[in-house]
C-alpha cells in the first residue's frame, strides 16, 4: 500500500494542516509537469491525487493512518446513541426527499415542476438543518485526534477504530444529505 503521507513528504500525523497537504500536492504536481514525457517516473499521478483527497478528509485520513499503523485492528461498527438519534431523523427525511425527487423527475412540464417548488424548499431546509447537526459531531471526533495518536503510541488502537466507525457513519450521512440537497437545488 502506498503511504500517502510519505508520498506528499508530510509527517504521519492525524493532525495534519490541510494547507500543508495542498501545498505539498501542488509542488509535487508541478514537478510532474503537464506532459506525460516530462513526468517523474517515481511518482504515479493518480496516487498523488488520491493522496491529496485522502489526507484532506479527516475520515479518509484516519482510515489510511490506521491501515498503515494497525492494519489488523478490527473494525468497530457500533453506533453511538447520539448518532442513532440523528440517524432516526435523517432516514425519513431522505426517504421523503427521494419521493419528491422522483415526482419531480416524472414531471415533464414547467408547471408540474413549479407545483413542487414549495415542497422542495421545505426539504432543502430540513436537510440543511441535518447537515448543521452533523458538522459539530464530526468536529468533536476530529478534536480527539491528538488523544487517539497518544493512545496509539501505547499500542491502544481502540479509540482510533471507534472514532473511524463513527466518522464513517457521519461521512456517509453527510454525503447522502449533500447529494439530496444538490438534487433539490437542481429542481
Amino acid at each position: 500500500m502506498t503511504n500517502f503521507f510519505a508520498l506528499l513528504g508530510l509527517p504521519e500525523s492525524l493532525g495534519l494542516d490541510p494547507v500543508a497537504v495542498e501545498r505539498s500536492w501542488r509542488e509535487k504536481s508541478r514537478s510532474l509537469g503537464g506532459t506525460p514525457d516530462r513526468s517523474d517516473p517515481d511518482i504515479d499521478h493518480p496516487d498523488l491525487n488520491q493522496a491529496r483527497t485522502t489526507l484532506a478528509d479527516p475520515a479518509l485520513r484516519l482510515a489510511h493512518w490506521l491501515a498503515l499503523r494497525a492494519p489488523e485492528a478490527p473494525a468497530d461498527r457500533r453506533i453511538d446513541p447520539a448518532l442513532m438519534d440523528l440517524f432516526s431523523t435523517i432516514s425519513p427525511v431522505l426517504a421523503k426527499t427521494d419521493q419528491l425527487l422522483a415526482r419531480h423527475r416524472r414531471a415533464t412540464t414547467a408547471l408540474a415542476k413549479a407545483m413542487l417548488t414549495r415542497e422542495a424548499i421545505d426539504a432543502q431546509l430540513q436537510i440543511q438543518e441535518l447537515l448543521q447537526r452533523i458538522q459539530p459531531l464530526k468536529g468533536g471526533i476530529v478534536e480527539q485526534f491528538d488523544a487517539i495518536e497518544e493512545a496509539a503510541g501505547t499500542g491502544d488502537f481502540q479509540p482510533a477504530t471507534r472514532a473511524l466507525g463513527q466518522l464513517k457513519f457521519l461521512k456517509r450521512w453527510e454525503e447522502q444529505c449533500r447529494e439530496r440537497l444538490l438534487s433539490l437545488i437542481a429542481c
Partner: protein, 604 residues
C-alpha cells in the same frame, strides 16, 4: 510529417475549429476561403464522395434527408437510449445496428455510424490544418463537452483515429475555454465559472486559477441542451403561427435555417421581418418578430441551464472553493442578450464576454496541445471526472467507486472474492451516473473478474478502476496471490439484432419515414396532457388570483385546445403535441408565479 506538432480541435455540434500554438500564441487556423468555422455537417450526394463542411451545409436545404448535422448529439449513445422526440427531430433517418448502436440511414446501402461521420469532419479539419501549416499532421487534442460520459469520450477518440489522428488528450470544453481566458493572467488568482452554451450541449464548470494551476472544482451539464433546441422552439413557433400543419423534411430544414437566422439577427436587432418565399409550391409566407417575442419563446429553454449551474455552484461551495468572482461566457448561444441578462439576474455577476464565443474552446485545445509538445509551459491543468463511476451491487443498487468531480487521473480499487466453491469468474456491471439504482445510470459494460478455482472465499482479486487524463476508464485486475495485473475488457452492453432486422428497420425508416412512430408519440403526448390539465387547475386554484387577465384567457384557450386534440379519434400526435406546447407556453407565467410565491412565503 511534423512529428512534434499537435493541433487542437474543437469538434462542435454545429461548427468545428482547429488551432495550433505558434510562437507561444494560440491561433485558430482558417481554410482556403479564410473561414475559421467549419460547419459540422456532412452530405451525401446521389453519387460521389460525401461533402463535408460548408459545401454540405449549403446542401442541407436541397437534400435534407441526405445531410447530417449535429451528429455530436448521437455519438457514443445507443439507439434504445434515444427518445422518440430525438429520433423525430434528428432530421435524418436513424436505425439501430446489430449491437443497438445508432446508424444513420442515408439510403439502404449507406448506413453510417456517428463515429464515421465525425471522422469525416475531423479529416476535413486535419486537412485545413495541413493546408495552413504546410505540413502533414497526425497528433491532436480534441475537446468534448465536460459532461460527456466514458462511452461518448471513447467514441470521439475512435472517430479521431478513423480520421488518421492520434489523440494525445481529450479535454473538456469549458476547461479549454478557461485556459484561453487565463493564458495571459497566470499571475492572477481567481475562482471563475465558465458557462458554455454551445450548439447542442451545455456545461458549467467552476475553476480555481492560481500560480499557473487551472483546477476544475466542479462541473455539471446537459449533453442534450443547446442552440439546436432554441432553433427548434423558434421553428415550431413559425409553423404554429403560419398554420403550416404537417411539414416535409425540406420545409422543416427551411424553418430551422430561418429560425437560426432570426435568432442571430435578434441578438443585435430589435425587430426582424421573416420571409418564406415559395415555401410550399408558389405559396409564400411572412411574419414579423421582435426580440421580446423571441425572448418569450427562448426563456424556458434558457431556464433549463439555471438548475444545472446552481448545482455546480453549490457543489463548488461545498468543496470549499472561494466565491466565484467571474462568469465567463463561451459558446455561440451566449450571444443571445437574454442569456446574459438572466445570468446576471441569477448569479449577481456581470458576465465576462471577453472571450470569442465560437473560438475560445479551440484556442484552449491549441494551448493544451502546445503544453503537450512543450510550446507552452508554466501551466498545470487539473480536471475532474463529471460523473460518478460505480458497480452494481446486491439489490440493483449502484455502489460508487469514484465519486463525480474527483480529480483525474484517479484510481480506486475493490476486492472481490468467490461466493461459492470452485467459482471461476464473476461478472461486474460498470456504471456511470448519479442515481441510487443501477438501472437509472449509464451501463458502460460488463467486466469479467477471473478467479482461481478454490473453496468459497479463498480467491482474492483486486479490481482497480482507473480514469485517465482523458476521462476514460480502464479496469485492471490484480490476483493478490500472484501479484499479476491484467487489463479487463469492458464489454459494452449489447442488444443483438440480426442483419435481417437491421435491413428491415432501414427499409422502414426510409420508406415509412416517421409514420410508425405516430402511436408512440401520441401516447407520450397524451401522458403530458394528462399531467398538464390537472396541474393547471390546481395551480390556478392556488395562485390564479395573481395571474394577469390576458394570461388567464390564453391558458383557458390552450386548455381547450389540448382537450379537443385529446378527443380526436384519429390520434393526431402532431396536433396533440402542438396543443401541449401551446399550453406549456401559456402557463409559463403561471409557473413563474408559483415559484415566486413559494419563495416569498419562505421570506415571510
Amino acid at each position: 510529417m511534423n512529428e512534434e506538432l499537435i493541433i487542437g480541435i474543437d469538434l462542435g455540434t454545429t461548427n468545428s475549429l482547429v488551432g495550433v500554438v505558434d510562437s507561444g500564441f494560440p491561433l485558430v487556423l482558417a481554410d482556403r476561403d479564410r473561414d475559421r468555422l467549419t460547419p459540422s455537417c456532412v452530405s451525401w450526394a446521389a453519387e460521389g464522395l460525401p461533402l463535408v463542411g460548408k459545401k454540405a451545409f449549403r446542401s442541407r436545404l436541397l437534400a435534407p434527408e441526405r445531410t447530417v448535422s449535429s451528429i455530436k448529439r448521437f455519438i457514443g449513445r445507443t439507439f434504445s437510449d434515444l427518445t422518440s422526440e430525438e429520433r423525430e427531430e434528428a432530421g435524418f433517418p436513424l436505425v439501430a445496428g446489430r449491437h443497438d448502436e445508432i446508424l444513420v440511414a442515408i439510403d439502404p446501402a449507406t448506413l453510417i455510424s456517428p463515429e464515421e461521420i465525425s471522422a469525416l469532419i475531423l479529416t476535413c479539419l486535419r486537412e485545413i490544418a495541413e493546408d495552413a501549416l504546410e505540413t502533414t499532421v497526425s497528433r491532436a487534442v480534441i475537446t468534448v463537452p465536460a459532461y460527456f460520459n466514458n462511452t461518448q469520450r471513447e467514441a470521439t477518440k475512435r472517430a479521431a483515429e478513423l480520421a488518421g489522428l492520434t489523440v494525445e488528450r481529450i479535454i473538456n470544453e469549458p476547461t479549454a475555454a478557461a485556459l484561453a481566458y487565463g493564458l495571459d493572467k497566470l499571475e492572477e488568482s481567481a475562482t471563475v465559472a465558465v458557462y458554455d452554451l454551445g450548439g447542442g450541449t451545455f456545461d458549467l464548470s467552476i475553476l480555481q486559477m492560481r500560480d499557473g494551476f487551472f483546477e476544475v472544482i466542479s462541473t455539471a451539464g446537459d449533453t442534450r441542451l443547446g442552440g439546436d433546441d432554441l432553433d427548434r422552439v423558434i421553428a415550431r413557433h413559425f409553423a404554429a403561427i403560419l398554420e403550416l400543419g404537417e411539414l416535409s423534411p425540406g420545409e422543416e430544414a427551411t424553418l430551422l435555417a430561418r429560425a437560426r437566422e432570426v435568432k442571430e439577427a435578434l441578438s443585435t436587432e430589435e425587430d426582424v421581418a421573416v420571409r418564406f418565399p415559395f415555401f410550399r409550391g408558389s405559396e409564400s409566407f411572412a411574419l414579423e418578430m421582435s426580440r421580446r417575442d423571441l425572448e418569450k419563446l427562448l426563456a424556458p429553454v434558457i431556464e433549463r441551464t439555471r438548475p444545472i449551474a446552481r448545482r455546480a455552484f453549490a457543489e463548488a461551495a461545498g468543496k470549499g472553493a472561494g466565491e466565484v468572482e467571474r462568469l465567463i461566457l463561451v459558446g455561440g448561444s451566449t450571444r443571445i442578450p437574454l442569456v446574459r441578462e438572466k445570468l446576471q439576474e441569477w448569479f449577481g455577476l456581470v458576465p465576462d464576454i471577453s472571450q470569442h464565443p465560437d473560438e475560445s474552446v479551440a484556442l484552449g485545445a491549441a494551448i493544451q496541445a502546445g503544453m503537450l509538445c512543450g510550446r507552452v509551459r508554466q501551466i498545470i491543468l487539473v480536471d475532474v471526472t463529471p460523473l460518478s463511476l460505480g458497480i452494481e451491487t446486491f439489490g440493483g443498487l449502484m455502489n460508487v467507486i469514484i465519486p463525480r468531480n474527483s480529480t483525474i487521473p484517479v484510481k480506486a480499487g475493490e476486492l472481490f472474492t468467490n461466493a461459492v466453491d470452485l467459482q471461476e469468474s464473476m461478472a461486474i456491471r460498470v456504471l456511470q451516473g448519479e442515481r441510487e439504482m443501477a438501472k437509472d445510470n449509464w451501463l458502460l459494460g460488463d467486466v469479467t473478474v477471473p478467479f482461481t478455482p478454490g473453496p468459497k472465499g479463498s480467491a482474492r482479486v483486486g479490481v482497480q478502476f482507473a480514469i485517465d487524463r482523458d476521462g476514460i476508464l480502464e479496469v485492471l485486475a490484480r490476483d493478490t496471490a500472484t501479484g499479476e495485473d491484467h487489463v479487463l475488457e469492458i464489454r459494452h452492453a449489447a442488444v443483438d439484432v440480426d442483419d435481417e432486422a437491421v435491413e428491415r428497420m432501414v427499409s422502414e425508416s426510409i420508406d415509412c419515414a416517421f409514420d410508425d412512430m405516430n402511436e408512440r408519440v401520441w401516447t407520450e403526448a397524451q401522458l403530458k396532457s394528462e399531467e398538464l390539465i390537472p396541474a393547471v387547475s390546481e395551480a390556478l386554484a392556488r395562485v390564479g388570483h395573481l395571474v394577469p387577465a390576458d394570461d388567464l384567457a390564453a391558458i383557458e384557450e390552450a386548455v381547450l385546445g389540448v382537450k379537443m386534440a385529446m378527443a380526436d379519434e384519429k390520434h393526431d400526435a402532431v396536433a396533440l403535441k402542438a396543443a401541449n406546447s401551446a399550453l406549456d407556453e401559456a402557463t409559463q407565467t403561471l409557473a413563474a408565479i408559483l415559484v415566486e410565491t413559494a419563495f416569498s412565503e419562505l421570506d415571510c
